[in-house]
């Protein structure tokens, strides 16, 4: 019964998505919408295959920017969260600024970055770092602060030093939080790189989309969107996979329940 429930749970979104795609395809083919305004799903797939090698090259650039930015953001977040956790004064000073910084639209910052760092790869990576840094840091700090106070008292009663409490208790406890932040950041990373590229550059999906749009090749724009979506979802599940490998005990908990 439970198994049946699980498969039907997975089927529901697939059926829903398929229905939308079929309606979309039908609407375009029946002439309800002009093709140059909205290409049909099959048009998009055809364009994707026809321009496969071009898309691959640009995807590679975007992926590289996204991953580099994500990696830098992870390192910065780790340092930041640890410092904020060890020194509450630093947290009090920086945390509100961090939240404030997130209210500035990234689309406004990006052109400035291009002014400061040129049209190379650096401003793109910078945008990715800006987008990814916040969710990772916030969830990591939350994780570090939500450790059971009694647990900390227990290890303190054993005579543990601050460093031991951090490495043996706090950090491992915060790992699930860290990963949920990382999953969000990973999906943002590709989007961040594309926004960076949108403002100009030599390669990348953002640049490619811009060119396609100027040529009114909407099928190619949609094909690029498809690549971005697939890439982001892939990253999400990739991180989830790493999480499962690094934290096998979490799976045990689910099985027991």
């Amino acid at each position: 019964m439970r198994k049946y429930q699980n498969t039907s749970d997975k089927l529901i979104p697939i059926v829903f998505l398929l229905t939308i795609l079929i309606l979309w395809e039908a609407a375009v083919n029946l002439g309800a919408v002009e093709r140059y305004i909205l290409p049909s799903p099959t048009d998009i797939i055809t364009a994707l295959i026809a321009n496969g090698s071009d898309l691959m090259m640009h995807t590679g650039t975007t992926f590289f920017e996204g991953m580099t930015g994500l990696l830098v953001a992870v390192c910065l977040s780790l340092i930041m969260a640890i410092v904020m956790d060890l020194f509450p004064v630093v947290k009090k000073a920086i945390y509100p600024v961090l939240v404030m910084s997130q209210t500035v639209p990234i689309i406004v910052i990006a052109p400035l970055l291009a002014m400061w760092f040129g049209f190379g790869i650096a401003p793109k990576i910078f945008v990715v770092v800006l987008v990814c840094f916040f969710p990772i840091t916030v969830s990591l700090i939350e994780g570090l602060q939500s450790v059971d106070g009694e647990l900390i008292n227990l290890v303190r009663s054993m005579g543990a030093k601050k460093r031991q409490i951090f490495t043996k208790i706090k950090f491992p406890s915060a790992l699930p939080y860290f990963f949920s932040g990382l999953k969000i950041a990973a999906t943002y990373s590709i989007m961040g790189a594309v926004i960076g590229e949108w403002l100009g550059g030599k390669a990348g999906l953002g640049v490619y989309m811009l060119r396609a749009r100027h040529a009114f090749a909407l099928d190619l724009v949609f094909a690029s969107i498809l690549v971005i979506v697939v890439l982001s979802i892939g990253l999400f599940y990739g991180i989830a996979g790493i999480q499962r490998v690094m934290m096998p005990w979490e799976k045990l908990k689910e099985e027991e329940e």
Partner: protein, 250 residues
């Protein structure tokens, strides 16, 4: 009554602790002898855990001292072992690695610590569960592991803060018998917090009643029949008398 007969391992003398300018516990005087099982019995939330935190060195009392083996240790951690009602096991470590935590903190290499724990597993009837994770254990089993970890830190003085409070009645009875069995083997001295009168009578050699606001030790009682059988618990006159004396103090 207040003199130490055997070797006195723990002495709390005149401890007062306040919180927000209000005394929670006041002028507490208790002692624990080697190999003794002493309960501190009182209503929930009266400051029993505060007293334990002072003894464990986590809180600094406004007044009074704590002595371990006749040496003052007020405000010093790492002298006594402490077990909570919550099992507080680390979900990312298996049973063995949870139990080595206190040894690790003391700086003993992991492999050596694991060997020590492995040697203790049969005593705790956990020999088949060493590699299991906490998520795979029942509530009673988790408390066994928690007790094992507590004894790995120190068997000299163990503070047990309502360790079976979160368990159902049947599991709790089993755990009480289990605790006595373990203590028989490892000869530890235990200070035990509870609000359950029968639990205190069954387990203890001696009982302190703590009550009031601020909480004070209102009475100290000897348990006439040690580890009474369920039948004796119901019928023995001495225990009935003790129970009614305790109730009068609460």
């Amino acid at each position: 009554m207040n003199t130490c007969q055997n070797k006195c391992v723990l002495k709390v003398s005149g401890v007062t602790k306040e919180y927000n300018h209000k005394n929670i516990i006041q002028n507490i005087n208790i002692h624990l002898n080697q190999g003794e099982f002493v309960s501190i019995l009182g209503p929930s939330g009266c400051g029993k855990s505060t007293l334990f935190n002072v003894i464990a060195g986590l809180l600094l009392p406004e007044d009074g001292q704590v002595f371990v083996d006749e040496k003052e240790v007020t405000g010093e951690t790492g002298k006594v072992s402490y077990m909570y009602q919550k099992d507080l096991l680390l979900p990312w470590r298996n049973v063995i690695d949870n139990a080595i935590l206190p040894l690790e903190i003391r700086g003993i290499p992991k492999n050596e610590a694991r060997e020590k724990v492995n040697a203790m597993l049969p005593v705790f009837q956990l020999e088949d569960d060493g590699k299991k994770y906490p998520a795979q254990l029942s509530g009673g089993m988790k408390q066994r592991v928690s007790l094992l970890r507590t004894t790995m830190f120190s068997q000299e003085i163990m503070l047990l803060d309502e360790p079976f409070g979160g368990l159902d009645a049947i599991t709790r009875m089993k755990m009480q018998a289990y605790l006595l069995e373990i203590l028989e083997k490892i000869k530890g001295s235990v200070l035990f917090i509870t609000h359950d009168i029968d639990e205190a009578i069954f387990l203890s050699d001696r009982i302190y009643i703590i009550n009031g606001s601020p909480a004070q030790i209102v009475k100290e009682m000897m348990v006439p029949i040690k580890h009474a059988s369920p039948e004796e618990m119901m019928t023995a006159d001495a225990l009935r008398q003790l129970r009614s004396d305790i109730l009068k103090c609460l």
